[in-house]
């Protein structure tokens, strides 16, 4: 496979000591969805802005389809599409007018532009709202239009900066659908995200970034295999810290358990007690037996396969996104899942 984006030792520093992007190198292959996963401030937007010629790099080299992002800046702009985090559409104009404007920016002849606009409006399901001003649009509709407007020139590479941040679940699903569809038609897609679920669902390959550095790179499954541990989460009766402490003691030396977490304040309601084990499904029965023998009342138990979130936690010592974690816990509590 050919590499369409090649980045070598790319850095961006602000002032003397703020390093936003620190000597990163990676390649994106033609036709793949490549993800940049990391928390706020990891350098994701900075990287995407450098690659889309919006921001000057401090050092290093980057090419898109063999074109240097500095020397061949105007040629690069002809082959890329970009959706910023802020959703770059004009609220005073209608959806159709917004797309027409983008067509004019790309010097697309009028009759061709009209066809293209109809096609794009249909694609993002905005045909009916086409002649309404954006002031009346929902967040999801605006994002869909934004996506359409970056497609008028049929770009070879599409850059999406946090495409679903702030969107409702339905709109998020929509955006994921479009991204997959575009990719199927051969478009290379570079996206940044702070949602591990998004990276997991969309990206063929991804980089995990933290504090301006790439901490891991690979296919989602490879990365998850690297962590190689299932997670067992235990919940005890509300406020029963004693039960938790006893459980930690009982499970610490259990065969097959790699790591036992700590009983922290509020553990019973939100986080629970976390146990890591290589072969979770085999260990889980022993865990239950050990707790039973020690006379500890267990309220709930959940077994989870490794997620990118855990990969991230393991590599950086931080969680990716607190809100999403809580949602995941709530979903998981409905029943025991593997």
């Amino acid at each position: 496979m050919d590499n369409i984006i090649v980045v070598e030792n790319l850095s961006k520093t602000y002032g003397k000591d703020i390093v936003a992007v620190n000597e990163i190198s990676f390649q994106v292959q033609k036709g793949e969805i490549f993800g940049f996963l990391g928390p706020n401030g990891a350098g994701k937007s900075t990287t995407i802005k450098i690659l889309t010629t919006l921001l000057e790099k401090s050092s290093g080299k980057a090419t898109i389809d063999g074109l240097d992002i500095d020397a061949d800046q105007s040629k690069v702009r002809r082959i890329i599409g970009y959706c910023s985090q802020e959703v770059g559409v004009d609220d005073d104009l209608t959806a159709r007018e917004n797309l027409m404007l983008q067509c004019r920016f790309h010097h697309i002849p009028k009759d061709k532009a009209l066809n293209k606009i109809n096609e794009l409006l249909q694609k993002v399901r905005l045909t009916e709202a086409a002649d309404r001003r954006l002031k009346t649009f929902s967040g999801g509709m605006r994002k869909r239009l934004d996506l359409a407007s970056s497609l008028v020139s049929d770009p070879e590479v599409l850059f999406l900066d946090e495409p679903t941040t702030g969107l409702d679940p339905q709109s998020r699903q929509d955006v994921w659908g479009y991204v997959k569809q575009l990719n199927k038609q051969g478009m290379t897609i570079f996206l940044t995200t702070q949602y591990m679920e998004e990276a997991d669902r969309l990206a063929d390959r991804l980089c995990i970034v933290d504090q301006g550095k790439i901490v891991a790179e690979g296919k989602p499954n490879e990365l998850k295999a690297k962590v190689g541990a299932d997670k067992i989460t235990l919940w005890f009766k509300a406020g029963d810290i004693e039960a938790c402490e006893k459980a930690v003691k009982a499970l610490s030396n259990l065969q097959g358990v790699d790591e036992v977490g700590k009983c922290v304040e509020g553990f019973t309601t939100e986080e629970g007690l976390v146990i890591m084990a290589k072969n979770g499904s085999a260990v889980v029965t022993q865990v239950v037996r050990a707790l039973d023998e020690a006379g500890i009342d267990l309220e709930q138990l959940k077994l989870t396969a490794p997620s990118l979130d855990e990969v991230f936690l393991k590599l950086t010592g931080k969680t990716l996104n607190v809100i999403e974690r809580k949602e995941a816990v709530r979903r998981g509590r409905r029943g025991m899942r593997s």
Binding site: T46, K49, T52, T53, L54, L55, E56, S74, R77, R78, I80, G81, Y82, S84, Q85, E86, V87, G88, V89, D90, D91, D92, L93, E97, L101, Q102, R104, F105, H106, H107, R133, S149, S150
Partner: protein, 271 residues
Amino acid sequence: MEMASEIFAIFRRWNTKLLRQPIFLFFSLIQPLVWFLLFTQAFSSIGNIPIPGTIPTPGAESALEFYTGAKSYITFFTAAVIIQTIASSALQAGIGLVNDLDSGFMDKMRVAPISKSAILFGKLFSDAISTIIQVAIILLIGLALGVNIASGILGVLMIMAIAATFGIAWSGISLFVALTTKSSQTTLSVGLLTTFPLLFLSASVMPIQLLPSWVQQVAKVNPFTYIAQAFQNLIIKGFVWDSIGYAFIAILIIGIISLGASILVFRKKIS
């Protein structure tokens, strides 16, 4: 050729935005009206002041008429209303850019294969259209209040040409502030803080000969003076080519500096 179509696309965008804000037309009507009424009522006796030290006034009824040819203060003051209106709307030109920077639309334009100057000039030309509309409104109000335009319809066109080009050049200052500070508040305050002092320290509200001597010195290097005198002559006397020439020289100098600086700032990649 490509650049012309880019400028045109952006020009049309701003025109559409302008037309969808009916509040704009309302204010462009109200503001000059307020100025006309307040100043011409409060200062109308300026038209009766005799030339200092000479009684009676030789060949003219007042100092105002002696120095400028204007029979009434309102005729003289029309130029000031035009300048005030151009300057205050020109100094808001940057606000639109700050909004684009905030909304992410600017990034969308900067990623597109279009020239940076097109982004600025499309906006400036659209602003020039609204300046011309505003000037037309002011002149109509003036006519209704008894102002006679000595240079006729051609003079009106010349006033509009000066107004539009001065508006474009003066907008450059606002664009520069907007692109450097990225703050609409700063952009707006720079506009408010410069317009009034410059207006009163020029020959716009008072004939230059009647100003205190230090103000005269300031007025002589104040571009508003030259624009004002060109307008005053076109309204009061007719075509006085000297004053029109000075006005365009002032516009050219301001324009080269302000627009040059804006384009330079804009061309640098910003985040």
